[in-house]
Subunit: 385 residues, 2 copies
Amino acid sequence: MKEYEVTPKGFKFYGTHVGIKKKRKDFGLIVADNVCHAAAVFTKNTFCGECIPIGKEHVKNAELQAVVVTSGIANVATGKIGRENEYKILDKLSKQFTIKKENILPSSTGVIGPQLPIDSIENFLEAESIDLQENYEDFAHAILTTDQRIKVRSLSVGDATILGIVKGSGMIEPNMATMLAYILTDAKVTKQEIYPMLKIAVDQSFNTISIDTDTSTSDTVAFLASGHHEVENTEMQSALNQICKELALDVVKDAEGATKTMFVTVKNAENKEQAKNAGKSIINSPLVKTALFGHDPNWGRIAMALGKTEGLVFDQNNVEIYYGHYPIFSKNNEEKQNINKIAEYIKQNEDIYLTIDLHQGKETVEVIGCDLSYEYVKINSDYST
Amino acid sequence: MKEYEVTPKGFKFYGTHVGIKKKRKDFGLIVADNVCHAAAVFTKNTFCGECIPIGKEHVKNAELQAVVVTSGIANVATGKIGRENEYKILDKLSKQFTIKKENILPSSTGVIGPQLPIDSIENFLEAESIDLQENYEDFAHAILTTDQRIKVRSLSVGDATILGIVKGSGMIEPNMATMLAYILTDAKVTKQEIYPMLKIAVDQSFNTISIDTDTSTSDTVAFLASGHHEVENTEMQSALNQICKELALDVVKDAEGATKTMFVTVKNAENKEQAKNAGKSIINSPLVKTALFGHDPNWGRIAMALGKTEGLVFDQNNVEIYYGHYPIFSKNNEEKQNINKIAEYIKQNEDIYLTIDLHQGKETVEVIGCDLSYEYVKINSDYST
């Protein structure tokens, strides 16, 4: 598998401004030439957006032909009118492209509460004949909210191509799926296999990151396969895993206000769940995050966060903590001689690697987080209702 | 019960500087004239301080005569030497005051990792004859770290008095007990009753607050009764509940960098645990907290935080959300007309009351949190190793 940026066969894109945001693009489309095999995973947030139940229903038969995204307003907590507005959009698109409404997956992202400006959107969809493009860039821009950049990855798998596009930089601690991510391939994937494959990839990627502990109401990861090329299943799975990992990392790299990315590996845990919970407890601790922002090798806060992990019991005497290759805690004692080296390591690097060795079992999990900065507070105390 | 500041009979206090911090008081003592009935609850953090196992052991027989607190260094993750250092301090105190070492409860709070400057402490305890005082103020100062003020409450119960002293303003999401809190009374409380009474009071107070989701490694709440006055049990419980509630609120009011206190009441939940989890999910959400700091009536983030609550399932159509007396969300719709009033309400008040009515059952719980400000980031990225 080598990286290049070719779009998979059978998909076209579109992105424009329809009047949800003030100026920036706020309406994105992916349309496939034919019905694709498809799978999607969605937020577990009970207060979910109006798109989520529609999307679940539409992808049930493992078929999709299009994706529509509105950005700027999340269409969450908008009741019956919110639901009807989504169907109005789907109806117009269904007519314009002669595809079944049930084969369109809708997504929406932005402020929770307000209704979509449905008149503007309908007017636009009636007036314009939408000219789909080979290039994904306008679409990738159209789905952004507080993101600083578009996040796109692609890979080749045998003769096929796999392309992933994601948005998200805040309200990110995915539980099952994350944010909005669309993964397209021109490989053939059967209806039976497409969901399990996506689930495996998402668990190892999006579900291991956290920017701010807040699970979004709109999280969706969708995977569409247009079926032009035969690809070995294991090869496909591994490409899908890689692209999801890369996209998830792209999201953390674009984390609101973040200056550092923190990779926490919890080694030799009794089971994967405990390892993941311990890692999440560390990357979610505001004290660990602010210390990282301050370039402070404050490993005591890491010990604290490890210790508060729900359901994890361990013996302090067996725990080892490393920054990069430098041990800072082992045999229940601080490795004081490394403090200055670690301070320098944090200062010099954007990617900070932390390793916790529990010496309890054989399972290892990596999770990815970021620091907590003035800028995060600024962005989120200003981003107004 | 009316409030006044008298210390209960049978207790003396002390606070001084022994060289853990640079200048400020860092060594505090409470000594009772006689052995007291006592109970204590401790952090559930697995990575707990060296004082915790000693304290658990010493309070097992429901007897204590003294409390010693060192502040500036937490004596956490310090291994065998850390444990020995605590015993050295207890030995010296035991000699100086002719009390059994097993009747002293040790506590330590501050930076995790370094060893206590045990030579300075021992030198001090050998050189000085400690002159205990009737007044608690030096003690209350000696236990502080990032706190901005001492936090002391007292009440009369029948003929007796109950006095509570607490420290804490960061690394606060108590799980079972919190921070360091000492509650003293000259009432008589039996050995059998003292622990259950404390447990009830702590669950309703310290265990309902969160400043930053981080459960400290040193949390301790101790309750000592010197037994001079007979007091009705129910009266005592209600005074203890009240003083714990007041002290817990004092801690949130002194939250690192906070400008607002947020009281979240979750009403009509199926059970108390769900109500508490939902409330905690809201007060712990960084997006809710930054919105509060920005005076932004961003109730969508409250909906998000409610929706991500682990194990809570509800129907959006039945949920109501209020700021103060203003409804902002009901019947799955935004009460738009109240947005400006709510923005004004947040701007004008330090105490912000949020109510979530789930309309599912009959249980109600109030939890207390605060906003997330630039100052919190500053304090915790500067507070150095």
